[in-house]
């Protein structure tokens, strides 16, 4: 089973789902040069958002800690700890800020 991201061109295979430890993330290099952050929660559900932390510019969101609040998963940036909702990319600590969220699936394809 592979983790796949939906890009404009279609589904893009990142890595085997087993490469991601539940509760943590990994970074992926996309064909257009962007960096995405992929996560698995403890139930094995996958999420993906842009890897760039908009508060510092550093490409680090994949290295943050996962959590949940009111049933929704978030990641806390490892630098200044702002939290981002993993489904929408919305920053929970600053209404004005959102990072791009990707559709993601655990699929058979390559």
């Amino acid at each position: 089973m592979n983790l796949q991201l939906k890009l404009d061109e279609g589904w893009f295979t990142v890595c085997p789902a087993g490469a991601v430890q539940p509760g943590r993330g990994v970074a992926a290099l996309l064909p257009d040069g962007r960096h995405a952050a992929l996560f698995l929660d403890r139930s094995g559900r996958a999420y993906a958002i842009d890897n760039r932390d908009p508060f510092t510019g550093a490409s680090v969101l994949s290295r943050g800690l996962l959590g949940s609040a009111e049933g929704r998963a978030f990641v806390a940036s490892p630098l200044l700890k702002q939290r981002f909702d993993l489904e929408s990319g919305r920053c929970l600590d600053d209404d004005g800020v959102t990072v791009r969220a990707y559709e993601v699936r655990v699929g058979q394809g390559h």
Partner: protein
Amino acid sequence: MPDTLPTLLLVGHGMVGQRFLEALVERGVTRDHRVVVLCEEPRPAYDRVHLTSYFEGKGADELSLTPADFMHHNGIELHLGSPAEHIDRETRTVTARDGRTFAYDTLVLATGSYPFVPPVPGKDAEGCFVYRTIEDLEAIEAYAKSARSGAVVGGGLLGLEAAGALKNLGLDTRIVEFAPRLMPAQVDDGGGAALLRTIERMGLTVHTGAGTEAIVTGEAGRVSGMRLTDGSELPTDLVVFSAGVRPRDQLARECGLDVGERGGIKVDEECRTSDPAVFAIGECAQTVDGKVYGLVAPGYAMAEAAADAVAGFPGSFTGADMSTKLKLLGVDVASFGDAHGVSEGCLDVVYADSRSGTYKKLVIDPDGKLLGGVLVGDADAYGMLRPLTGSVPPVSPEQLVLPAGAGGPVKLGPDALPDDAVVCSCHNVTKGQICACGTLPEVKQCTKAGTGCGSCVKTILQLLPQSGDKGLCGCFGVTRAELYEIVKVKRITSYARLLDEHGRPEARGGEGCEICKPTVGSIIASLAPTIGADGYVLAGEQAALQDTNDHFLANMQRNGSYSIVPRIPGGEITPEKLIVIGEVARDYGLYTKITGGQRIDLFGARVDQLPGIWARLVDAGFESGHAYGKALRTVKSCVGQTWCRYGVQDSVRMAIDLELRYRGLRAPHKLKSAVSGCARECAEAQSKDFGVIATASGWNLYVGGNGGMTPRHADLLAQDLSDTELIRLIDRFLMFYIRTADRLERTASWLERLEGGLDHLRDVIVEDSLGLCDELESLMAAHVTGYRDEWAETLQDPERLSRFVSFVNAPGAPDPTVQFVAERDQMKPDLGALKPGTQVLIPEGALTVR
């Protein structure tokens, strides 16, 4: 977007300009307007109030008030380095210096002020400066390198701040003030006298009652001194003028807007000028009460009023409080309300103690209402008194000025404040609004209180519920100490199990959060040998709990790179090992620095380089220094008896023994220690969590010391201990702390909080009053035997090493955003590479960072 959208043009992007843009966004104005900003300075708005912290190492980026994505996200066009030069109100256009013309429907002027430089001969000589922008500070800093003395013209709020900064740059500093006392606008004569003593004690020289007649120049036209109106001459290499500011109203004058007699663009309650299409806000405006405010809080209130008017909401600015608190390090000065007692029939209550440089005055009206006051030397009460202004305080005025212990109920709690008392004057937020929020971050987000000068944060914290809920976080309703007991007694080694069995009902089955995960990770690590968990922090499920630093066994830096600190026990290192560190740093191009903890830090490694670097370090006999973990950091030492003529014990050997004993020990916060060879204390042991000082007959043990944000001198726990007694006591001390402290609580604040304080601690760990000592000792014994070096262990496991990549799908590719530029023969992060849209080169070719 249709070009029919009305255009709002803002001239000036300073503190108030930025607040105005935020207010527009909050009111939705940016959605139906094209918003254009002309900014004179080369960078977007920054925190001028904290300008001086630029000298304390805050870079321009840290001072920025403008979040990276703010303009882009809200569709605002910002033109940097592009001042407006001409306004044509007929055609409603503004011409910028580069010749471009911008049409507007609404024009907002937020041009601030310029520093006033008295017209004395020589004022333009090389070595004369003003103090307003980052560029000014850069110029002062550069010039100060070749100067030995400096003088500040003006002893007001800003002048004192500038003088403090010159002093910190190492200059012999004088202040020249025309008025008979310092801070003439804020304090009265008594306050001025107390302030003078404090400032002089800090090593600054003050000349009051003297004006500047001329700047004297020496060879090559550089400043060499100044001549004062009293005939005297002061030698000085550098002069900073801080003699007040003047509103920048030139543009407005030239286009015929009404301007006040003494400057300032006249505005009405909505901050509209004499032309209804033009607004003026901040320091460039003269408000309806006839004043030009030189503080940021009134400017913010004007920004809100003008944004209301633009959005069609009711709102007005009629005047503001002029409370101030000096930020100058080491001097407490505050004034608020009617500080000079000019209200009719008002009375003073004064307390003065010239020994301690304390002066406090409250101004009250005949009915006992507090009107204002001045506090010098001890401004602790400012946060409470300012909001009480305008009401009758619940205790008598003398109780409010007398020092603690000198009578009556001393501390007036914030409970005494009425709901409509303004607690944050920068953002005009009342106690009621603050109490409607639950936590400090919520207060900051919902009301902005505390995000200006910061002087109200202490009061806000007192106002927030020290709620009955002592729970660790949203996931656990118990404290860290209770969690520790649960984990220990039930031998729980799985976070998921702990959360599902002991979490708050609503959090069970969830992901947990960034607060409890590392806390539980640390508890499991502290107890590992005892509860049967793996002592290795990246084992199995434990890996998912660790903060990024523990997860990659290195400390993340601002650009996503990492630092590496090998352990150097006691600060003792062989030349061979020094050479290995040098070689590794050279081969990987790392920035190296001697740390404040007697070891060496290597900065700038990409995550994928960590294993290679550590392979070489481990090979040379180095271990992890845990600079990334809440764990033992260093045990510093002095050379001690071996070399030093005063030493009475072998402090280096003891430091190394202690460091090797406690290395790897995970704790609620980091742990630091030091050992000094005699009472001269060269290792600074009394500022450490546990510090040891040699005596002729053994060792003295000090505990609960702290440097950092809130320094605390350590307490002497026991005297003249033998080696064995010393180590036994430290074992107990550390394990008792680990067991009972809160998350991120250093030993200093833990000891402060501990009921019964030092005496209780002594009872428990020296007298064994709770019968705990055997257990504490055996917990430590288990740690000592179970210790393994994390890096050596990681290097042996290919699966774990596979996590050290920049990209999971391109393991060989480096992260192209981690870039460096040269500085002082080494390198530093290239923050330019982190901007969106930057082209960076990686071996495979050019990629665009998005």
